[in-house]
């Protein structure tokens, strides 16, 4: 659909890909845009490779089918890249990848990396053994794509994060992701 930026969030069940997509859409709304966040739903998928989708546009999006090929692929843990055929998830040669990784990764596409795991570790954003990597990656998305603003992402956090101190820490995580994301 023309004028729509399509996202695929690729990670493991329980990593927060669905929430990340929803925060992105809430942020888009605050920036005066429209969009939708769609989970790929199966039963009991914690730990399995899962996708969720988001579409952001300047006007309401009528689609409800899955995003088959992304303009922006956000990878919550780099190990899943070995388990999928990335070419099948990308819309064009101009599509980009933003990956949670401590070092550059060659994918054949324009790829940005940020060590979201280290950021969450540093901020103590580890819940039940799971690092919160979605918020640093959303900061990276804001920086790299310019589709949503950093402020809008931070202002959306209270809708998704319960406790006030966690809102602050996640806001810090978003900012660090924004600052620390690097190109190839």
């Amino acid at each position: 659909m023309a004028g729509v930026t399509e996202f695929i969030f690729l990670g493991r069940g329980g990593q927060g890909g669905v929430t990340a997509a929803r925060i992105l859409v809430s942020a888009a709304l605050k920036d005066g845009k429209w969009g939708q966040a769609i989970p790929e739903f199966g039963a009991e998928r914690r730990g399995a490779v899962v996708k969720s989708y988001a579409r952001i546009a300047d006007k309401p999006v009528p689609l409800h089918s899955n995003v088959r090929r992304a303009d922006v692929l956000v990878v919550l843990t780099s190990s899943v890249l070995d388990l999928v055929n990335v070419n099948e998830l990308m819309k064009s040669n101009d599509s980009i990848i933003i990956v949670n990784s401590a070092s550059p990764i060659k994918t054949g596409y324009r790829t940005y990396y940020v060590d979201a795991t280290a950021i969450s570790e540093k901020l103590g954003l580890v819940i039940a053994g799971w690092h919160i990597v979605s918020t640093p990656l959303l900061g990276a998305v804001a920086r790299v794509t310019n589709i949503v603003s950093l402020e809008a992402i931070i202002n959306s956090l209270p809708e998704f994060v319960g406790r006030e101190n966690l809102v602050k820490l996640n806001a810090e995580a978003v900012k660090m992701g924004y600052e620390l994301v690097r190109g190839e």
Partner: protein, 404 residues
């Protein structure tokens, strides 16, 4: 000016379909909710229970041991004068099946959300419309939303429609499992005071006055003559006919309040100059609409007729729009065994014999169908009619290749 309704103040939020339905239930100030809180339940009743817990909604929440009991509970509450609501999905809806008929023929106003999902076997939790369509003979008014906003609007308007004295039939609001129930989209929510002015509390004395010390009445007892049963069904039929006008009126008013008027039982996009009409229902209509736009850009004169309410059956709308069409293509996300697509089967009787027609069965079991695929299916149909002349295909099973 007399009768002028000013546009309500609205807040724009991002919610998943299920939570949007819960917001509408809260704004409608429902008195009694009953649910069986286990799979296949929905996020709707979960959110409502949180609203009650937080004191945002003052209502009685009756937790029961089955969907049969959930519907029986709200049916009883509604008979007693309460504004009542329940929600269910797939197998849960089927567990209610007997009660659906009792509630409808008892003429109680009642609203139920149905998150449409596949009926097993094999086990499958994804989106299909077969469950909702299997209740179409029971006497419920049945709507199906296209997006999160409409799921909200359809729920709120359902109370007004159901409680109208010309109707007094329960209303089922359908929304697609996951692709709507769990999909987050922006929607506009009117303020409580504006909803209050538009939707006053239910009159508890209509249709029954049940109160302590009041006159004794019996409901649903054995009639002395079986002909009463036929008379009741005829009354229900007349109320279904009346509901067509009530639904149109309610959306007119609601449109003035919110700025959103979807039209009555159907909505037709790009139909006025269309030679071909696609027909669909539910969330994937947005994808079909996108395909229609693409085909228009390629020069194909096609429009989309979206069914908003399948009961009462929008016979006049359908015959009006397809009259003079060269071809009609109907998309069913449901299957009636031994017959075909439910929409195709019901609508085909109204398609003139000299009009081309194809019924497409797709998305059965919840598999995803993209706008690209809809574009290809519709282009192929139109090309074939243009090439071969009259084409009549009641069942085309669209089955994608299974990737391993």
């Amino acid at each position: 000016m007399v009768g002028q309704v000013s546009l309500a103040k609205q807040v724009r939020k991002v919610l998943v379909g299920d939570h949007a339905v819960a917001e509408a239930v809260k704004l409608a100030k429902v008195n009694v909710i009953s649910a069986y809180p286990i799979t296949p339940q929905t996020l709707i009743v979960e959110r409502i229970s949180e609203m009650i817990e937080r004191g945002e909604l003052k209502a009685d929440y009756v937790r029961v041991e089955s969907e049969f009991a959930a519907l029986a509970t709200v049916y009883g509450a509604a008979a007693g004068g309460a504004r009542a609501f329940t929600a269910t999905s797939s197998h849960g809806l089927f567990y209610m099946y007997e009660m659906l008929w009792w509630a409808a023929a008892s003429r109680v106003p009642l609203v139920m959300a149905v998150v449409t999902r596949v009926i097993g076997p094999p086990w499958n939790i994804h989106d299909e419309h077969t469950d909702l369509l299997a209740i179409r003979d029971s006497g419920w008014i049945i709507g199906m939303a296209q997006n999160v906003q409409e799921a909200f609007d359809m729920t709120l308007t359902a109370f007004k429609i159901s409680e109208d004295e010309r109707v007094l039939l329960p209303v089922a609001v359908g929304l697609d499992g996951f692709i709507l129930s769990h999909t987050a989209e922006p929607l506009d929510i009117p303020a409580q005071e504006d909803v209050d002015a538009w939707l006053p509390p239910r009159n508890p004395k209509i249709p029954y006055t049940i109160e302590p010390g009041g006159e004794a009445i019996t409901m649903g007892n054995l009639p002395r003559n079986d002909v009463y049963h036929a008379i009741l069904k005829k009354y229900m039929d007349e109320s279904m006919e009346a509901a067509k006008k009530v639904i149109a009126d309610v959306y007119n008013e609601y449109g003035k309040l919110t700025g959103r008027n979807y039209g009555p039982l159907t909505e037709c996009y790009r139909c006025s100059d269309a030679k071909y009409i696609a027909i669909s229902m539910g969330a994937w209509s947005g994808d079909i609409l996108n395909a229609v736009e693409r085909l228009r850009n390629e020069g194909y004169p096609i429009g989309l007729l979206r069914i908003r309410y399948i009961r009462p059956f929008p016979e006049e709308d359908i015959t009006g729009w397809i009259n003079g069409a060269k071809g009609v293509i109907i998309f069913d996300r449901d299957y009636s065994a031994g017959m075909g697509g439910v929409l195709a089967s019901e609508i085909s009787g109204f398609i003139p014999s000299n009009t081309s027609f194809e019924g497409v069965l797709a998305g059965i079991g919840g598999f995803d169908v993209s706008a690209d695929e809809f574009t290809a299916i519709m282009r192929e149909f139109v090309d074939r009619v243009e090439r071969e002349g009259l084409v009549r295909i009641r069942k085309y099973w669209y089955i994608p290749k299974i990737e391993r």
